[in-house]
Amino acid sequence: MDYTVHDSGNLRELELRGQITFEADGDFRTILAEWQQGGIGDCVLNLSAVDYMDSAGLGLLVMANNAAKQAGVTFRLKHPRGQVRELIEISEFHTIIPCEF
């Protein structure tokens, strides 16, 4: 996985690419550490360029959601495609993390 950061005021959009699996753990921890530093009120994960996510990837979303609550960051997902959308839907992750389909 790799990602690009777009900041606009206190809104941060992270455009993720590739696969969200256990290997993305390090990138997620970097992303979450930056929330702790403050200055970000709203964070959106744009998943449109993610072509695969497994259950460990879902685990990273749970971890991010919990970290967002602790840091006072509003966290949401947008534009999952293909298998990623299917996984989010059958797992009903949009019921615990707001997701714009």
Binding site: F22, Y52, D54, S55, A56, L58, G59, L60, V62, M63, N66, Q83, E89, I90, S91, E92, F93, T95, I96
Partner: protein, 394 residues
């Protein structure tokens, strides 16, 4: 390596080996034995760390070297030869016979010291490496034995052949299953148990990740499922109850995708609920394939999660296939994901004349397009309603 290195010097006149002893002494070698030709075999038998031979020993030559090298305890000991060597042919013969190095005279004591030091250090490092390798081998062997035992225990969680045959005869079904871990232990679990004469419960669960941590969670789930206070005949309530128990047990970011179903052979239907699990597949008697809905938070993610029951017709002649996500998330040699389309194609290709237990055939076909080394644990459960009447109560 324990203690100071032991060095044996073979010298035609041991009394003249004083300078060699001094050099070794300055290198910190305290155990030096000097012997003549007659004493060589005895001293060499005590497995020295280095052997220094004077080429003036009576009978010295490639034959003597080869004889020493042939001894098991000397096969990797440095054997240095000190002397004058007539020519390259002679030097090559000595090296081929087993000499580690030739110390050609004239030679200063400083050079001799440096050469001995290099060989002693190499020998020390080699011995340390051998000890590390031995230690790793011992650890690996023990770990493999423990892992094999753990794997036996994990396989013991699954319904055995007797339990499967009892279900088959009681409910008029045939049952086939496949359980394959991507490493020694896996994070999948499936099971089935009678509820009454018409109904039995069936589940397939897949914990996040694979390997030891995921396997430990399967043991947790197995213990929880043995609780008698679970509402086992109501899939949605069963999942809600299991979720409530697992939320407090599983670490953050670990959870379980699970389908729990009740097969009712009296009402010809399947009632099931899912928690992030793959969709079930039903093949009807007319060969039509139906992929059921699936929605629900995986178990262990959020307390208070609610689940929904879905109902599918499951009359005689139809077949149910449950599977873990590894089946359709696997990528073929072309890099494309297998997908639900691939799964339905697999079942379609079995045709109407499929055997009662067709999973071997189905997977043979699957692995013609998929790499055999799985990235995730793979479990399949195949249940066909044979149309033969259930045996009913005994």
């Amino acid at each position: 390596m324990s203690g100071s290195p032991r060095v044996v010097i073979g010298h035609p006149r041991p009394s003249a080996a004083g300078p060699l002893r001094d050099v070794l002494g300055r290198l910190g070698i305290r155990h030096v034995t000097v012997v003549d030709r007659d004493g060589l075999a005895g001293a060499a038998a005590e497995a020295p760390h280095l052997l220094l031979l004077h080429a003036g020993l009576p009978g010295f030559g490639p034959g003597l070297l080869a004889g020493l090298r042939a001894e098991a305890h000397l096969c990797d000991v440095p054997i240095l030869v000190l002397g004058r060597f007539a020519g390259s042919h002679h030097r090559r013969a000595l090296m081929q016979a087993g000499a580690s190095d030739l110390l050609a005279r004239p030679l200063t004591l400083a050079e001799l010291s440096a050469r001995l030091s290099v060989h002693l250090e190499n020998r020390r490092l080699d011995r340390s490496l051998q000890e590390v390798i031995l230690s790793l081998r011992t650890y690996h062997h023990g770990a493999m034995q423990r892992m094999a035992l753990a794997r036996e225990m994990q396989l013991g969680l699954l319904p055995d052949a007797t339990a499967c045959r009892l279900l088959e005869s009681r409910y008029g079904i045939t049952l086939d299953s496949h359980f394959e871990s991507s490493s020694e232990l896996g994070g999948d679990l499936w099971g089935a148990r009678p509820l009454d004469d018409q109904r039995f419960g069936l589940f397939l669960c897949d914990f996040t990740g694979h390997g030891v941590a995921a396997a430990l969670n399967t043991f947790r789930l197995h213990a929880l499922l043995a609780r008698t206070d679970l509402p086992a005949d109501d899939p949605a309530e069963t999942l809600a109850a299991l979720n409530a128990l697992l939320v407090g047990l599983l670490p953050e970011a670990q959870f379980a995708a699970m389908i729990y179903a009740v097969v009712d052979v009296g009402a010809d239907r399947l009632v099931y609920a899912t928690a992030g699990a793959p969709r079930p597949l039903i093949r009807h008697a007319d060969s039509r394939l139906e992929v059921g809905p699936s929605c629900g938070l995986p178990l262990g993610v959020a307390s208070g999660a609610r689940y929904r029951n879905h109902c599918l017709d499951f009359p005689s002649g139809s077949t149910l296939l449950l599977f873990s996500d590894a089946l359709y998330e696997a990528r073929g040699w072309d890099g494309e994901m297998f997908g639900y389309g691939g799964v339905t194609d697999l079942v379609r290709c079995l045709g109407d004349g499929a055997p009662d237990r067709p999973l071997d055939r189905l997977l043979d076909r699957y692995f013609t397009t998929m790499p055999r080394l799985l990235a995730d644990d793979l479990t399949l459960v195949w249940i066909s309603r044979t149309g033969r009447s259930p045996s009913g109560p005994d």
